[in-house]
């Protein structure tokens, strides 16, 4: 009995020792959904934040949102990066994560997503455009911020899953191949065979028809040119002018792994960290 009491006491002391430390970790991380404008109700904000917390901790990649008028669209890239870096966002050694900034100025709303660490790998440039489309779609359908942001957060989770599986969402992300329909496949095979037969028969019979034709107009008189009579008595080649046309060169889109992808473009923030990102006005 004494041993049991002793064990429970030790366990209690250990719990008391580490519990504050755990709490500090949680307390140090900034809120993952901040709404300074008030486009969400408090209950909506809390629900979205719980979703962000759950995904961020499970994936160890931060998913965060700030809705504020403190950002300017002209400097949004630097401001979003700085907000991310200097307010403690990002998980792990690489400060992995993303921050969605929803800003507002005299011209209306704008959005920008900044990515960092593993977040850069998870969200390619094409992926960022896709995530913004998710928000815009709901915004255009009646300024539905709550559902737009919820869809955005869930899509972030899916994009992180794809990156974890080694196939980040990108411009050449392959669509699943549809199951071949046997009837269509057979029709295609028969169609190709019939077409090949028809073309070959047409070519073959045209050649045979050509054998029946031997009368052709003669437009020149080379058979009657006096041998050796042709002389070039004067010649001049005069350069006149040049014209140069340009055409855009297709970009080399290869990335590591050998597959053809758009990838992520990155820049360095004022803190010296690398960030990806992209945004637009709504």
């Amino acid at each position: 009995m004494k041993r049991l009491i002793k064990f429970l006491l030790v366990a209690f002391i250990i719990t008391l020792t580490f519990l504050p430390a755990l709490k500090i970790v949680k307390a140090d991380h900034p809120d993952r959904v901040i709404d300074e404008i008030g486009i969400l109700t408090e209950s909506e904000r809390q629900e979205l934040e719980q979703l962000c917390d759950e995904i961020s901790e499970r994936q160890q990649v931060d998913v965060a949102i700030i809705i504020s008028e403190q950002f300017t669209y002209e400097n949004i890239e630097a401001e979003a990066d700085d907000y991310y870096d200097y307010n403690g966002y990002g998980l792990g050694e690489g400060y992995s994560g993303s921050l969605l900034v929803v800003g507002r100025d005299s011209e209306g709303y704008f959005v920008y997503i900044t990515t960092c660490g593993y977040g850069i790998d998870c969200y390619s440039d094409y992926g960022i455009e896709h995530l913004i489309d998710t928000i815009v779609e709901n915004y255009d359908n009646g300024y539905d911020w709550y559902n737009g942001l919820k869809a955005y957060i869930n899509r972030c989770d899916e994009l992180i899953d794809m990156a974890n599986a080694g196939e980040p969402y990108d411009i050449y992300y392959p669509d699943p191949e549809p199951e071949p329909n046997p009837a269509i496949e057979t029709a295609k095979t028969v169609g190709i065979s019939t077409g090949a037969g028809g073309i070959a028969a047409l070519i073959g019979t045209t050649i045979l028809k050509g054998k029946n034709k031997s009368v052709f107009k003669k437009r020149e008189a080379r058979d009657y040119a006096r041998p050796g009579s042709f002389k070039c008595t004067n010649h001049r080649d005069l350069y006149l002018y040049s014209r140069t046309t340009t055409s855009l060169r297709p970009k080399d889109t290869s990335s590591n792994g050998g597959s053809s992808r758009g990838g992520s473009s990155t820049h360095t923030s004022s803190s010296g960290r690398s960030h990806g990102g992209g945004g637009r006005r709504l």
């Binding site: 095979t189 070959a200 028969a201 080379r222 009657y224 040119a225 009579s229 080649d237 005069l238 350069y239």
Partner: protein, 361 residues
């Protein structure tokens, strides 16, 4: 009095002014700039030095003597209007062009005497063999044409031709281009350089033949060329023994345009053959002048076979000197359908098998 000389822009054809800033001549319409030497050279090219001169001297008329006329007969076909000359011993019983048996003897007068004749070198037996050979290897040919009776209708006839000799001076102007391409990290570039190319030359033609009879198709006669006129001999009525001769009904004057056109094409081809090192060549202008020109009237040996199949007339012609035989043949619809079906089925089955068992794995 103005000393200003206006040039024509080689790029757009607009008038060009002097650009003081660049010291060059600048086109106000397309913005192209040129050195003065370039425009002077181009201006010279535009003034073609060979004057277009295509007049042929009239051919001196030569008529049959009374003795020669007494050895010949002149017939006119009631059906097609064909005019036939034959020697008295050969005579003519039917029209060699349409087969009509009613041909009427005419008074022999006012008919020009040919200067030359190329005698037949291929006899009738060889001509028939060549005809049979011509029909071989033509699976779509109706059987009707292989009928032996039809082959017997082959007739040897001297066809009247005008032969044109001339020495030709010619000058041509071409627009040519040369292109090069290169790239940097963002763009592909293609630079096309334009040149004015001028060529002058001379060439001689001997005995360019033009058919002088309306009874026989010009294109058919062109198809049995060439004739070796070096083998031609002075005309004698004796050469007509056993053969018919057609009387010309298109004059040398009327036929000369065709000779000019053929000479022009060959002259231009000869000049163009001297232009090398360009990616494209386009003829802009050409002039041609004729010197030392003569016209001769010559009879050339031709075998002709006319036949009618399903209401359509088909004519075969053979060069009686070289044996070259031509004649467009109709297509047997039944044979066409059969060959089409055979090829269709074979290729379709092969394509199906390849798709199912080779590509499909």
């Amino acid at each position: 009095m103005s000393n200003l000389k206006q040039y024509k822009c080689p790029s757009c054809g607009g008038p060009i002014n002097y650009d003081i800033a660049s010291g060059q001549l600048k086109c106000p319409y397309c913005g192209s700039k040129f050195e003065i030497d370039t425009l002077q050279g181009y201006d010279e090219d535009l003034k073609n030095t060979v004057e277009e001169e295509l007049n042929w001297m009239d051919k001196p008329e030569q008529f049959f003597t009374e003795t020669e006329e007494s050895q010949l007969r002149h017939y006119v076909c009631d059906s097609c209007g064909g005019e036939i000359i034959a020697d008295v011993n050969t005579g003519a019983t039917s029209c060699p062009y349409c087969g009509n048996p009613v041909i009427v003897p005419q008074k022999f007068s006012g008919i020009l005497k040919p200067d030359l004749v190329v005698p037949f070198k291929i006899d009738e037996k060889q001509a028939k063999e060549a005809y049979k050979k011509h029909l071989k290897g033509k699976p779509l040919l109706p059987k009707f044409f292989k009928d032996e009776n039809r082959i017997n209708e082959l007739k040897g006839i001297y066809v009247p031709f005008w032969l044109y000799d001339a020495e030709v001076d010619m000058a041509a102007r071409y627009r040519t281009t040369r292109s090069r391409t290169w790239s940097d990290s963002d763009y592909n570039y293609t630079e096309t350089s334009y040149y004015s190319v001028y060529r002058e030359g001379e060439i001689g033609f001997d005995n360019v033949p033009v058919d002088g009879s309306t009874n026989i198709d010009d294109v058919l006669m062109e198809s049995i060329e060439p004739f070796d006129i070096d083998e031609a001999v002075d005309f004698k009525t004796a050469y007509l023994a056993g053969y018919l001769a057609d009387k010309y009904d298109i004059s040398a004057e009327e036929s000369k345009e065709q000779a000019n056109q053929r000479m022009r094409t060959s002259a231009e081809m000869a000049l163009a053959s001297t232009i090398r090192g360009y990616d494209s060549i386009a003829l802009e202008s050409m002039n041609m002048g004729l010197n030392n020109h003569t016209i001769k009237y010559c009879l050339l040996p031709v075998y002709i076979l006319n036949t009618t199949y399903k209401g359509q007339k088909y004519t075969f012609a053979m060069n009686g000197q070289t044996g070259k035989l031509v004649g467009d043949l109709p297509v047997d619809k039944g044979a066409y359908a059969m060959y089409f079906s055979i090829i269709f089925v074979i290729v379709a089955v092969i394509a199906y098998v390849i798709q199912m068992f080779i590509i499909g794995g």
